[in-house]
């Protein structure tokens, strides 16, 4: 491959001919000091908070602290190229990122620069990273479901389009796995997905990208990476730029899902910045506005009114707790901001109950409004039943003799728990979920041995799809458990059980 030098020369000539010369008017300041990711600048007297500035090396910064005699700048890039005495130029713009279809399927840094080696981002549109969230009159209540494909979540803590559902748990409890399954399950639904990786090992991010690609999810997903080795300002800004990219689809009537993995690391990056800027530390040394840092981010998730196109932005923030401590500062903040949380517990995880969701303290405040009618009917009360089963189970371990009613409840509970186990990267269609949860909650699985539940379920679903296609299509059509559909499912289960042999 070789370029034709005449052609290139003509392109350059044309560019020079069309070049319009204007007097360059700029406002400048002088770098007083540089430290980890921040700089103090003298001058820039007209700069506004959040405005972009540029250093001589081309690195971009943001005016963060406006003080009496100096301006605190956060540096979005390599701060080692900046020296004392450098001239800083204010650009008079807010930080913006490229948005639109050109970024789908790409791996980007928080400024929208490509990291995947697939050439420049082809996007003509830009969107400011920090915007004020939509107000009350521009929204409508959340009512459409966003299926995660995970039985336990879709049945017990349903997520609606426009909702913010926190995924919280200790390290290694499968938080990212839940979010990835939710992304994989958006295939074919038109929901654009954004995975924002903050402060993670680059190897973990590479694995996530590889997984998404393997399951065909990169066709509608954008990954925004600011790894553990990137400077704190970029880690701090990453969730906002991911949200800006997702908002573009929301405001054009589309649907988007954004996963922030994870916000505790973003809070740590923000704490580092704030302390370097000499903002006073508060609880756990976080600055006073760390709540605002998260609330203004998550408030941008919305279900827009029909007048604005009815688009939605759903977010799944992730918070990592230390030793199950949910009453630490950042977890309580984010719990109070979001519309519910999925709490993942290590002891359940190691018992083999995966996803390791604790049904008792996981909630979705939008609840049934975000479920299809059929699911609402079969799964209503499931969460409370499961929570009371946990209590009963603990009690039954004392070895007391149990009356038959209690024993039956226990048996049903064991089967429910077994049914809600689900392998990773195998999200399930919501209609299949309805059938299997119907079978379990209505007692059709009570005579199946606990260890055969998974086998029974998969064979039942295959049977229903192959032999009872009409019932399934009616269910898909009405999305409701009408008498007709219910009878069909019941009959299907009875027929299947006659020929069922555990393998």
């Amino acid at each position: 491959m070789k370029f034709n030098s005449d052609e290139i020369a003509s392109v350059i000539q044309k560019e020079i001919e069309t070049f319009e010369s204007q007097m360059d008017v700029r406002e400048i300041g002088t770098v007083l000091e540089v430290s980890d990711g921040i700089a103090r600048v003298y001058g820039l007297s007209g700069v506004m908070a959040g405005e972009m500035v540029q250093f001589p090396s081309g690195v971009i910064g943001l005016a963060f602290n406006l003080e009496e005699n100096s301006v605190g700048i956060i540096i979005l890039g390599d701060y080692l190229t900046i020296n004392e005495g450098d001239e800083v130029k204010s650009l008079g713009r807010l930080l913006s990122v490229p948005v639109g279809d050109g970024i789908i399927g790409r791996v980007l840094d928080p400024l929208g620069n490509p990291l995947d080696g697939r050439g420049p981002v082809e996007s003509t549109e830009q969107r400011p990273v920090e915007v004020i969230a939509t107000g009350v009159s521009e929204r409508q209540p959340v009512h459409e479901p966003l299926q995660t494909g995970i039985k336990a979540i879709d049945a017990m803590t349903p997520i609606g389009r426009g909702q913010r559902e926190l995924i919280i748990g200790d390290r290694k409890t499968g938080k990212t796995a839940v979010a990835l399954d939710a992304i994989i399950n958006q295939k074919g639904t038109g929901v654009k997905c954004f995975y924002v990786a903050v402060g993670q090992k680059d190897s973990s991010v590479a694995l996530v990208v590889e997984t998404l690609r393997k399951y065909g999810a990169m066709d509608y997903t954008t990954v925004i990476v600011s790894g553990a080795s990137t400077p704190a300002p970029l880690q701090y800004i990453a969730p906002y730029s991911g949200t800006a990219m997702a908002e573009h689809f929301m405001f054009n009537g589309g649907h988007a899902l954004v996963v922030y993995d994870d916000l505790s690391k973003q809070a740590v990056a923000y704490r580092q910045l704030s302390l370097l800027m000499r903002r006073p530390p508060g609880r756990e040394a976080y600055p006073g506005d760390v709540f605002y840092c998260h609330s203004r981010l998550l408030e941008r998730s919305a279900k827009l009114s029909e007048a604005l196109g009815g688009g939605s932005l759903t977010s799944l923030p992730i918070i990592e707790t230390q030793e199950g401590e949910v009453s630490a500062y950042i977890p309580t903040n984010v719990i109070s901001i979001t519309d519910g949380q999925i709490y993942l517990q290590p002891d359940l995880f190691f018992k083999g109950i995966r996803p390791a969701m604790n049904a008792g303290i996981s909630v979705s405040r939008v609840g049934g409004a975000a479920q299809i009618k059929a699911m609402k009917k079969v799964a209503g009360g499931l969460r409370l039943d499961l929570a009371s089963f946990r209590e009963l189970e603990a009690f039954a371990q004392l070895g007391t003799d149990l009356d038959p009613v209690t024993q039956a409840r226990l048996d049903r509970g064991y089967r429910m728990v077994e049914l809600l186990k689900q392998l990773q990267y195998q999200p399930m269609n919501v209609y299949d979920q309805v059938v299997s949860i119907y079978a379990a909650t209505r007692g059709h699985m009570d005579d199946v041995a606990v260890e055969n539940i998974a086998d029974f379920e998969s064979k039942l679903l295959a049977y229903m799809r192959d032999r009872k296609g009409d019932v399934m299509s009616k269910l898909e059509e009405s999305k409701d458990l009408t008498q007709e559909v219910e009878d069909g499912i019941k009959a299907g289960i009875a027929e299947f059980k006659k020929g069922y042999k555990p393998s």
């Binding site: 070789k2 290139i8 008017v25 700029r26 007083l32 007297s45 100096s70 130029k89």
Partner: protein, 205 residues
């Protein structure tokens, strides 16, 4: 100690703030003799302290008592400068602020100029300006900014041509160097776009 190089005032934000406070107070107390005081202060800094760094060291030293310092100031400046300025220098010694004297002097001068409707403007050019150019630039700037322009000239050959004017934090860049830089980025992005848009047509056959 003696071979310590006298340094240009490095940007020190704290000293600037102190300087602004004391300068304001000095100008406020000066009354009618404000112009004399400002020019005498400039002379004190540039002709005495800068010429005799050991005097400044002595005035700033904590090992010399206040009485000795005041006596020293009296002997040197009494009768030569305005009595208000002399008192001001004594107060600076007493408060341990003699190290901010340069900042005070610079701020006092600019504040006085501002009060008289003058603004300092730094003009950087590739070649030394001649009188006619100087007058043209000063007239134009005075007209645009509605103030009397005081030009501070600097020659920087790397500009290649044209001038760069700095007024406070604002820079008006009309130099060849600045134009060439913007042409470079413009052409580079234009060529990149052309390569993206019509890659095949640019390849040699």
């Amino acid at each position: 100690m003696t071979d310590e190089q006298p340094q240009e005032t490095v940007l020190d934000v704290d000293q600037q703030q102190v300087g602004a406070l004391y300068a304001k107070a000095l100008l406020g107390s000066a009354g009618n003799s404000v112009d004399t005081i400002v020019s005498e202060l400039e002379a004190v800094v540039n002709e005495c302290l800068s010429q005799h760094p050991r005097l400044e060291q002595a005035l700033a030293s904590p090992r010399i008592s206040q009485e000795q310092k005041e006596g020293m100031l009296d002997r040197i400046f009494s009768g030569r400068v305005d009595s208000k300025l002399l008192n001001f220098l004594k107060i600076l010694c007493r408060r341990g602020r003699i190290d901010s004297l340069r900042a005070i002097q610079v701020t006092a001068t600019t504040m006085r100029e501002e009060a008289m409707g003058k603004t300092r403007m730094h003009v950087k050019s590739a070649h030394p300006l001649n009188d006619q150019q100087r007058k043209q630039i000063a007239d134009k700037l005075s007209q645009v900014y509605n103030t009397q322009a005081i030009l501070i000239e600097e020659v920087d050959e790397s500009l290649l041509g044209g001038i760069v004017i700095r007024i406070g934090d604002r820079v008006l860049d009309g130099s060849i160097l600045g134009k060439m830089n913007s042409i470079r980025t413009g052409v580079a992005s234009g060529v990149q776009k052309a390569i993206r848009d019509r890659f095949e047509t640019l390849l040699s056959p």
